[in-house]
Assembly symmetry: C2
Homo-oligomer: 305 residues x 2
């Protein structure tokens, strides 16, 4: 089986290095960073932290080098999906392309370029320490499911099985929208609040006024999910309260806060922006998500004078 | 007539220096800044910019020095009203105390300490350049009106007449809530958006997503005003669009943005916070103002580690 990880940042690297442990999987990585690609080709792709792994794989910045692959696993930031899949689609002419990205709308973007798409949500996280070396912060589950009738469930199961055997526990389900929307609602209701205020997750949650805003955002997200017939696999509120505990993620700075502090474009268009767009399609009002979306876009705009 | 300006910052100084031009008015100023008070007593209070004025008056940091006054004009930041009137109330035992502060709720605070209160709203603005010297940025009108039955209109008219003769055009009306709520709605719907995003007023208004959020905030404020039977003297939306023009206030950084950049406590409790509180009293939902209030309080909290 040939698998190409498209976007070999922190999350992409977790999949690439772990899948590369398997004898029956040939792993490729497509990434924009020349330094990262060179380091991977020279010394392998190393993970440290939650697991110690070195994966041997082929990495490239040149999509033309990619062979025909059975599977793609797209792990770019959501705003780079379009460019990444436009460049690499030829490698998946006979294959299936899964997304394990944040946010909603990535499947739709992929489906404009390739015929067979796999929806996905993943919870493991990490960060790039240096080219070729990624810190694996947290382990966690991945859920994959067919995006539409073009993708049979057994094809999804085959990829999930490989990921699981490689060390990334993955479940294949017929409808993967439940975990996806739970994660999107969690992220959209907490990350931008941290980004706009500068507060860690725990400090956001211990302020009754902000915690109430978080619930307002969650409720809109739940309503949009319900209008699509999506059953959340659990309540995002539980995940939020769990993460707020001192020994869990009280001191965690949301990735979007890290983006804002570094003046990097955020994934807001695919979080709150996605909830607003799907809400409009299903006549569900989302005024709080629209407000938060506009504010974070305003912050991004303020970096351009 | 003896008048004491309580809080002799930029706006208080405009009233104090202009009133001091009148032979029939003795002006006192109570302020917390020793340097400002000393400079005023030594060299007078100087205004430059929209008008060139030097006012001779008595300033003090010690409320015990204040004589019995006919009028107070409270011009502190709204969060300092309580402390300022608690210290100075004795000087107004037989007088009337007007507020020309930002926000709503200041009259209520004054009325807990003095019997006769005058509601007010003022549009002139400036900034302190150095102790004893204030830049007068914009001229503008002031509206005063009785807070309740304890204050006859002719008493308000007498103060308005003095202000007008001194160079601060002021109108006395029976119900001053219209201009007050127009200004509060304007400020609450635009200042915090600038503060949260870092954008100038014009840049906020030219982004359709943020402009739409501004309108959402305005609409909630209008509903809360209407529920109290307040007729706005004009539509805050017009003021917002007018100010957004290139030659008016396109490049203006909201005072709340300046506060946030300097990590100074903002007046958010008396703007969006005031709208939310009055909304609750009159069963008018204000979810967007509550969200903005919570976010700015969160920003303030982020300055304390």
């Amino acid at each position: 089986m040939k698998v190409c990880v498209v976007g070999c940042g922190a999350v992409g690297s977790l999949f690439a290095a772990n899948l590369a442990q398997l004898d029956d999987v040939e792993v490729w990585a497509y990434d924009a960073s020349r330094a990262h690609v060179d380091a991977i080709n020279a010394n392998g792709l190393r993970l440290s932290g939650a697991g110690e792994v070195v994966g041997r794989l082929r990495a490239t910045t040149d999509a033309a080098e990619l062979p025909a692959c059975d599977y793609g696993i797209v792990a770019t930031k959501a705003m780079h999906t379009e460019a990444a899949i436009a460049a690499t689609a030829h490698a998946f002419a006979d294959g299936f392309v899964a997304t394990v990205q944040n946010g909603i709308g990535n499947e739709e973007t992929l489906a404009r370029h390739v015929d067979r798409v796999i929806r996905g949500t993943t919870f493991p996280a990490g960060k790039i320490l240096e080219p070729g070396h990624v810190q694996w912060d947290v382990k966690g589950d991945t859920t994959l499911g067919p995006y539409d009738d073009g993708t049979p469930l057994d094809v999804v199961e085959r990829l999930a099985d490989a990921c699981t055997r490689g060390g990334m526990p993955t479940t294949a389900v017929q409808d993967a929208r439940g975990p996806q929307w739970r994660k999107v609602i969690f992220n959209a209701s907490t990350n931008p609040i941290g980004a706009l205020t500068g507060l860690t997750h725990g400090r956001v949650c211990e302020r009754p006024d902000l915690r109430s805003l978080v619930t307002g955002l969650v409720d809109e997200g739940k309503a949009v999910a319900a209008a699509q017939g999506i059953e959340l696999d659990s309540d995002p509120e539980e995940l939020i309260d769990h993460a707020a505990q001192k020994h869990v993620a009280y001191d965690h700075k949301a990735s979007m806060l890290q983006d804002v502090e570094a003046k990097r474009q955020t994934e807001i268009d695919f979080l709150n922006g996605g909830i607003v767009r799907f809400g409009r399609e299903h006549d569900v009002p989302t005024p709080l998500n629209a407000a938060i979306w506009a504010l974070v876009k305003g912050v991004e705009a303020s970096w351009q004078q």
